[in-house]
């Protein structure tokens, strides 16, 4: 009904009046995500933009406002602007950090908006109306299980961590929990900031430092790409395998092609933002009933199922 109404308004108001009239009748969904500061976030931005186009086409009376922030402070500012200036009806947010963003999101909720939280949970889950998330501890656990099984429970590995954040901590803690009791030894652990160049550098140094490495847990596909080059440069491809994470197309392709250096990958798809936006939009426009939580599992990608997760058009 609302759709018909706004269409009618637009027709009556004509070209000159249209923008203002439109804006008032539309349902506004604000989307706040981190800027494309690393590969995964780049994928996130791409999927969010795709979803924005798709949803605005599908629901003409829906206006999606996408904002990106470079840090926690800016994201909090964005939320204030979305509520007071853009007057949104609902917010889809992927918080930079869980704890610092909890109160700003609470303020949005208190202003009477529908709140969808994606990926990183707030410290007070009662704020959100909907939670769509990848499962970070699960990702660490699945990675550890795969490495354990592939090494038959015994071997020396190195770990490359991401950017020091809750996400990174959860993954690494779950990983360590899972390998406890096995004979897998973590030789070294360094931050590689979810970044190819740092992955390359850190791995070069690991290779000089340790004469024998059986496996590398790179945790992220950008890091993994840097690691691959470093291992190739040292000519030690036969000695070890590398397990990344996220589901970047280049890595999925390698898994599909049965590359022995990259035998598998663990999914942590940036497409989850699109899913969250779609569920929220459907609820807003069609008043579709929703569940409170959608958890996207950390699926292990192997040559058998890789084709299903290969998106050649995505930039990530």
């Amino acid at each position: 009904m609302k759709l018909k109404l706004s269409l009618a308004t637009a027709l009556v108001a004509g070209v000159l009046m249209a923008p203002a009239a439109w804006a008032q009748d539309k349902i506004k969904m604000g989307v706040s995500i981190p800027a494309a500061t690393h590969g995964w976030a780049g994928g996130l931005n791409w999927h969010a933009q795709q979803a924005e186009k798709r949803l605005e086409q599908k629901y003409p009376n829906l206006d999606v406002i996408l904002v990106t922030a470079r840090d926690v402070g800016r994201q909090a500012n964005d939320l204030e602007d979305l509520v007071s200036v853009r007057q949104i009806d609902a917010l889809v947010i992927l918080p930079f950090e869980s704890a610092p963003m909890t109160d700003p999101v609470r303020a949005v909720k208190d202003a009477g908006k529908f709140v969808t939280v994606v990926d990183r949970g707030l410290t007070d889950p009662s704020i959100q109306d909907l939670y769509v998330a990848g499962n970070n501890p699960e990702m660490g656990k699945v990675s550890a299980q795969y490495i354990k099984q592939k090494l038959n429970g015994k071997g020396d590995i190195v770990v490359l961590r991401g950017i020091p954040t809750v996400v990174d901590n959860q993954r690494v803690e779950a990983f360590q929990e899972e390998i406890k009791g096995s004979q897998i030894k973590v030789l070294g652990m360094e931050y590689a900031n979810w970044n190819r160049d740092d992955g390359f550098k850190v791995m070069q140094d690991f290779l000089s430092r340790f004469p024998k490495i059986d496996a590398v847990w790179a945790q992220d596909d950008d890091i993994a790409l840097g690691v691959i080059e470093a291992v190739k440069q040292a000519g030690r491809e036969k000695e070890m395998f590398i397990l990344g994470g996220a589901g970047m197309k280049d890595i999925i392709k390698r898994v599909m092609d049965k590359d022995t250096l990259v035998p598998a990958d663990v999914l942590y798809p940036p497409a989850m933002i699109a899913e969250a936006m779609e569920i929220t939009a459907r609820h807003l426009v069609e008043k579709a009933p929703i569940e409170k939580q959608y958890i996207i599992e950390a699926t292990l990608v192997t040559p058998e199922n890789a084709a299903k997760y290969y998106y050649p058009d995505s930039p990530f």
Binding site: A36, T37, H38, G39, A41, G42, G43, N45, W46, R161, P164, G188, M189, E190, Y191, N195, R196, D197, F200, K201, V202, Q204, D205, F206, S208, R209, D222, L225, G226, E229, Q233, A234, D250, S314, P315, F316
Partner: protein, 334 residues
Amino acid sequence: MTQSSMPDAVRRRSSGFDLKLWGPFLALAGLIVLGTLVNPVFLSPGNIFNVLTRTAFIGIIAVGATFVITSGGIDLSVGSLAAFASGVTIVTMNALVPAMGPGWHVVALGMLVAVGLGLAAGLVNGVLVTKGRIEAFIVTLGTMGIFRSLVTYLADGGTLSLDSSMRSVYRPVYYGSLFGIPYPILLFAVVALIGALIMYRTRFGRYCAAIGSNEEVARYSAIDVDRVKLLAFMLQGLCVALAVVIYVPRLGSASATTGLLWELEAIAAVIIGGTMLKGGYGRVWGTVVGAVMLTLIDNILNLTGAISVYLNGAIQGAIIIVAVLLQRGTASKR
């Protein structure tokens, strides 16, 4: 004042041992000793080559930055420019492959594009600073943001990857070597040598120091201040382009995170090397040492498990401050 950039003049002023001149080399020696103590692998040829090849990017950029800083300017846009130039180079080569087929001619054209872009960016920075009369800090802060967004836009927020057929052609430029020495190290050495010649043996080098020391006096001394400053920025752009030429074959990709904070690393290398941040005094060999030190600190921290990874940044910061303190502390006592 014009002569303050000449090593012999400096030596004459202070009697005997000059810490300002030799401080960076002492600090480097100290780091090498520390590295060896931490892990004997440190001195293996493999590790040394790794460190020097890695240094090449920042090192080459920092040689250019030495001129800009010596002439009293600063260039914050180098990291973003490196990312943008890498992106454009990759896009160009990818576009040429279908028509021309993968091969060295495509690589050569890609390199040409990088160099052209570097010089053009330097020209823009330089013209805005000299003709636009805007502080170099503001101009390059602006272009830093512009180049960074342009590469993000080019890559759709993701990563630009070089065509795989081109990668195998281009790869040896980073991974190959001549007489056992990797190409990036050779290029770094050549750039440093030419940089030192320009700084110490040409009029242009002395003009840079003169302008950085006192721009007004330099102008009254009939130095074409604008032209020298402009050339310094273009030289910086060229250095960035050369770094790009060896960066692209390493991972064959460019993204929004390429070259992040390189500008700060380059500036740090220059200052650790003994060049004054306020200009008027430039040391190219010091810059080379400064750049190597920055990579060494990272390398040493990676080679040891003794220090919590959470503290890496603190150790880096402390070493940088101590290295500069070594030269400045004694300089002021004289």
